[in-house]
Amino acid sequence: MSAAAHINVYNGTLLDEIIHEQKLSRELVKRAAREIFVIIKEGLVRDGVVRINHFGSFKLKRMASRKGRNPQTGESITIPGHAKVIFSPCKALREMIQPIHPKPIPIPSAEPTQIKKNVKRVAVQSIPELIPEPALLKIESEATTFIEPVSEDDTQGKRKTGGHEKLIYFGIATTIIAVVAMKSMPNRVEILSTSINLPPVAQLQEKPVVGSFTSPVMDVELAAQPESEPEQLQMGSTQSEIQKEESASSTEMVTVTTFDEPTSKIEEVVIEPVETSAHAMTEVLTPAPVVITQIQPVNNFFFTERPYKLQGGNSLWRLSKNFYREPLYWPHIFFANADTINNPDKLREGRTIIMPTLEGEPGSLTFNDREKIAEGYFLVYTFYKESGHADAFFALLEAKRYSAEVVERKRHTLTLSAVENILLDQQKVVANL
């Protein structure tokens, strides 16, 4: 069925149908047809609108002058204001042409605002991996080393309020001052603010030294401190040094070494500034909890699968052109509906077929698209071959254009002549179809 057939109102089939139906004189019907359209013209000029029952209405609309361009010369011209005839068909006629008007289908995946939000959330999620475990303050000396892990509850609140690295340096600075003060007092450290009752030296446990240390490292359980804040006492090297280590795992560590000679007795050990600095450091470094939201996969297919009810005038070529913008993909529809469509050249009106998914856009098909279209062309080839179509072999060539693998996979089932084999071998796969 061709949509380009033209019917003249004053002559031909249309007039004959009326005459045959009502057995009227040809002259009367012809005159009536002429007069009807003359009256419509007059009505348009007079009222600007003509309404005809069961057909529609013709309206005039005034268009303002605008600037245009001559397509032949490219010159800018001014199109003067004029009236335009608009035809709006009545509902009955519209429904007669298209019984079910298709409604727009929303594409949720392509919503721009949601995508931006998701991207932001992804950036936030990556932060906890980079932020280290709760920081430890480690003070090493010949006689004493304090390792004071701080609980996460204390640190989270500070992080929420927005801590900065400045606080870390402040803590380090206060630690240095404390160490200098300790160094000035040989073999004895006194801190005024807090006093810790240490167990006897006999309770100290010896541990093997790791690394370059030669002296044993000793742990001391402090009786004055609660279990939530354990402190460790270790023996370190003989030289005074202050180190700040920021390793790849971002664990904050400060090492303070004092005393020139190793000591066997520890009477009072405490560092007031250390306590404050340790808290400051850990409060800053502990991350705030981040809510992780799962991002849904985005479907960016060019065309998503959906059913379609065949209408009069439909053909696979036209359907492919309308839905995929490329008529050459019509075997893709045929392959997806091989059970429904017996003959691709003759579609039955009223049947529902499935318009298959096209992942890539026309001109940049994906691997799956190419495979399916090639399969479709192969199916077309087999159908045409059975029905004795003269151009069946061209479908096979097309199949190889889309995917050589599909043809090679099924080549052993084909019975081709020598010339056809040569032509098929010469056919190349085209990258962009």
Partner: protein, 95 residues
Amino acid sequence: MVTKEIVKLLSERLNISQRQAKDLLELQVKAITSHLQRRHNIITRDFGTVGIKEVPARRAYIPSEKILCEIPAHQKIFFRAANKLKELVKSWRPS
């Protein structure tokens, strides 16, 4: 102008009854719509062409709902005015 006025004018000009004029108008409309249903273009000299065109699928953005939609392919009735009709209504202005 509505159908009733067209019928009245038609009967006056053809010297036929209004009933006959109405029948003739209805027959004409019926014949045109039946051809439109068969996807034919109806050409009327010095008036224009009525036909059906296929609108391909396209994507559209609905600003009120802020969503991107795909409008499926559909068919549409069009009217293309003839040059003489265009000339006739060129200087028309709404009263």
